[in-house]
Assembly symmetry: C2
Homo-oligomer: 288 residues x 2
């Protein structure tokens, strides 16, 4: 689990338009972000074995990312062959070479040698997502139509916020998660807030900000789906309270579509703390 002396652990900061991907995780026969990135790594890094990526947020089909983070272990010998005359740094050369072969819907925003003990998944202290909605049947602005949901009903932002407040905090989110054996569904939901944007690229959209230490599978989209049912007037606070306290995944909750969701940021502690954080997280979420 720890860094072997013969590999260099590299942190990759990534953005992608998830529209044409079947999600992050590699799946046979399907176009996935992991598959496209590992294919690019195999072309760029001359190593005997294909490097495998570990990611902070395993986004589902259609979900986008502006601030995704992954790590990969590259054999030291291959790492040392990366620099070129125009790009003397290994990480800088890796980034440029990857961007030279990746399709236009994925970009490596940054590449860097990871600090000791860094793990893209287990060292992360927080994930922040945004969910963008064009409500009341308005079609989204064509320039952002690939990462906003067209929602038929009008949304009440105050109602969305009131409903959301009842869900935040450290608690068991089993009602909102697809279960995985042996994995805890306790999470610290630090923010679930909504605003109607007045200006900028998102003007007119209703945008949710969702922050937690980590999310279970489908948790963000289930939270959004549940709150939307209150925000558009179909359900009330009593219903939300009832489904939120369900001891297992509630079939009453509609999971919101992936297209509106973007992983905006992954937060890590300081370099000195990433190893400790990774060890703590692993012990808490053993099989997750």
């Amino acid at each position: 689990m720890t860094d072997s002396p013969i590999v260099v652990r590299v942190r990759l900061d990534l953005s992608y338009d998830g529209t044409d991907f079947a999600g992050w995780a590699d799946q046979p026969e399907l176009r996935t972000v992991q598959g496209a990135l590992e294919a690019a790594l195999a072309r760029v890094v001359r190593a005997e074995s294909l490097p495998r990526l570990v990611v902070a947020g395993r986004t589902d089909a259609g979900v986008h990312a502006r601030g995704q983070v992954a790590h990969v272990d590259i054999p030291l010998s291959a790492w040392r062959r990366l620099p070129s005359r125009s790009r003397p740094g290994e990480a800088e050369s890796l980034q440029a070479r990857l961007n030279g072969v990746l399709p236009s819907d994925i970009v490596v925003r940054a590449a860097s040698e990871a600090p000791p003990g860094f793990d893209a998944r287990f060292s992360a202290s927080e994930r922040r997502y945004a969910y963008r909605i064009s409500d009341a049947g308005r079609r989204p602005d064509p320039l952002i139509r690939r990462h906003a949901l067209a929602y038929p009903r009008a949304l009440n932002v105050d109602a969305l916020n009131e409903a959301s407040r009842s869900l935040t905090g450290l608690r068991d989110f089993c009602a909102f998660c697809r279960p995985r054996e042996g994995a805890t569904t306790i999470r610290d939901l630090r923010e679930l807030s909504w605003r109607r944007e007045e200006s900028g690229a998102d003007a007119g959209l209703v945008v949710a900000t969702v922050r937690a230490d980590a999310f279970c599978h489908s948790m963000v989209r289930s939270l959004v789906g549940a709150v939307l049912a209150v925000g558009d007037g179909r359900r009330d606070a009593a219903w939300l309270s009832r489904v939120a306290s369900s001891p297992k995944r509630s079939p009453a909750i509609a999971v919101a579509p992936g297209c509106g969701l973007t992983l905006e940021e992954v937060v890590y502690p300081t370099d000195a703390e990433v190893a400790l954080r990774a060890a703590e997280t692993r012990s808490r979420r053993t099989l997750n």
Copy 2:
């Protein structure tokens, strides 16, 4: 030229992703914004003659719009047939019907009865464009890649702004315009400023804001192209001053690609003033 009593002049506020269009203006055999909108109007408005659109900014191939404005005259009889039980207002019904048949890269953001004397082109008092650039060879964020230019060289924002200041004001922009016989090239360039965005959807991009009473053909992209040559260090202020004072279109100026350009806003005076403004503009720019 004035409103006939048997038509209703309608203002349409439009957004489009220009990537897959050969510009605004209708051209045989090509996919254009005007062509797609007029085809949609012909399907939605049951009139004997196809309504023709007049637009505030005739965007070129690949250029986008978030705040485009056009007008169209709809026969009163056809206008009165628009409402339905679910949409009792004519304008609201027109907007919904158009959005129901338009392709996903055009959207009608609003439709309204225009005030008396309104002309989408001649009543406008100002156009504002943005030009978005991912510089230093960095690939743009995939989520906005369709409306930002990937520029190979690093840009100095201070140098861009200094160069731009020398170009603003009321002057003859013939050096930056494709000439049209009988049309003046005198314009009031109110702003040409640059900033590197720190946050939001444009984080990391260098973005120009360009405002004028109106623009000649290719003027925004020529201004941007000329200033970029200074901002990336290839040219100096003396060169810019020389080409800017050229008595005709300067071949030394590279016109910046359309993909980075977005028409963000068209400004109109108050309803009471639009007719006067249209008359004034027509008299100044007779054939333009």
